[in-house]
Symmetry: C2
Subunit: 248 residues, 2 copies
């Protein structure tokens, strides 16, 4: 059981304004909640779960959770869930402060207004797959703690350092080579293998803004042999990172 | 203006059962509708549009549409739209019969139960980008005429030949090399450039089913240097096609 104000608080975390205000976010479902608890990078303040989940949870986990674990009924989980079909468990975690960006001796992804939470989630997973530690997001990029991003990234959200900042200022202070994903650049397979540098990915429909594009040292392009007008931003990021991290 | 039965008919096209029964599907928004009308591959039976769209449409297009163009009011478009925010125009098109698969002298993508319409749409666009003409889908793969697929593929839906069939039977009759995307195969960058063959992509959570995996000649794998458990199915398809069509 829980109070009306608890319900209101958890529901409010579906909105960025309140996630920012309370410094908290929600995760749902056994897989996502389980992974985030396991990585232990975000501090968990409460877990609301059906008896079914509690019965199946390992004793060690239950011991760790202690008083933060609250048994709820179906109708209660429905009230606080952001999912169309609530999935056994919902946890509230504290956001963690991002680390400052290093830029040296590493690849950094820069996202210039990626709008779709699904795309952001996909890109965070790709970064984690290819061992990219840092993502710099423009202030208009989707929020990494949006429930849709959390659901699609799982533990990658804990492992990748995602920083929101004025990307123009950050790029000015980053003394490494900057590559911009564009339609009219050097074909990817002709770019040297990258161990250090910045790769800039643009907005889904507008691409990279002109001011940011001007700051790039080189444009890079995915060769096209067919007729599609564009590739999904996540797909493009995956192809670029595979080529520059693995193949070249 | 339109009748109640017209509203019911168009609403029914949001469901596969009725798309199959009527051999029709819907597309929405100026960009998608415009592109599908332009490619002229699907026969358009009706366009329902706000005055704003009609006023902006080229005279030549309006002449071609003739009596199939119906002016509607906001509240009418809302009734027939599958979008949360209706977007000026909705068109009904006839599905087209798929061409038989050739397999020889080309790359063919095989999708083994891709469930998410968004992923299917992304994959059709990727195929179109890399000049893949044929996609063979298992009978449990998402429907290519699902409104979400139509919205995300745009004209690629008209250009790529998407076939739904028993993939076991089709693979038996395809006398070309078969590659399966897996976690334990040959690293992509060591596979020869492909001009002919089949690339099999599995379900988002279960991967390729064991029976289909057994029919593969070689497993291929995207190298991982980080910790993410998996890549999105669309992203994996993009990386594989880029590597095998462009890089190798």
């Amino acid at each position: 059981m829980f109070s009306k104000s608890t319900v209101k608080y958890i529901q409010s975390l579906q909105h960025k304004k309140f996630r920012d205000e309370y410094g908290a976010f929600i995760a749902e479902g056994p897989k996502v909640v389980g992974e985030l608890l396991e990585t232990n990078i975000f501090n968990c303040t409460n877990v609301y779960a059906l008896e079914e989940w509690i019965a199946a949870a390992p004793a060690s986990l239950k011991a760790t959770l202690g008083g933060t674990l609250v048994a709820v009924k179906d109708f209660e989980l429905e009230k606080i869930s952001a999912l169309a079909k609530p999935n056994l468990v919902l946890a509230v975690f504290e956001k963690k402060p991002a680390r400052q960006l290093a830029f040296k001796d590493r690849l950094t992804l820069v996202l210039d207004d990626i709008q779709d939470p699904g795309n952001l989630g996909t890109i965070i997973r790709i970064a984690d797959w290819f061992g990219i530690q840092d993502i710099l997001c423009s202030l208009h990029t989707a929020d990494m703690y949006n429930p849709k991003v959390v659901q699609s990234t799982m533990a990658s959200l804990a492992r990748v350092n995602v920083v929101y900042a004025d990307i123009t200022q950050q790029l000015l202070s980053a003394h490494v080579k900057k590559y911009a994903a564009a339609l009219d650049g050097t074909p990817l397979e002709k770019v040297d293998k990258l161990k250090e540098g910045i790769i800039i990915i643009g907005n889904e429909s507008k691409g990279i803004s002109p001011a940011i594009m001007q700051m790039a040292d080189e444009k890079i392009t995915i060769a096209r042999v067919g007729l599609a007008e564009s590739l999904n931003a996540g797909v493009a990021t995956g192809i670029i990172l595979h080529q520059l991290r693995i193949t070249n």
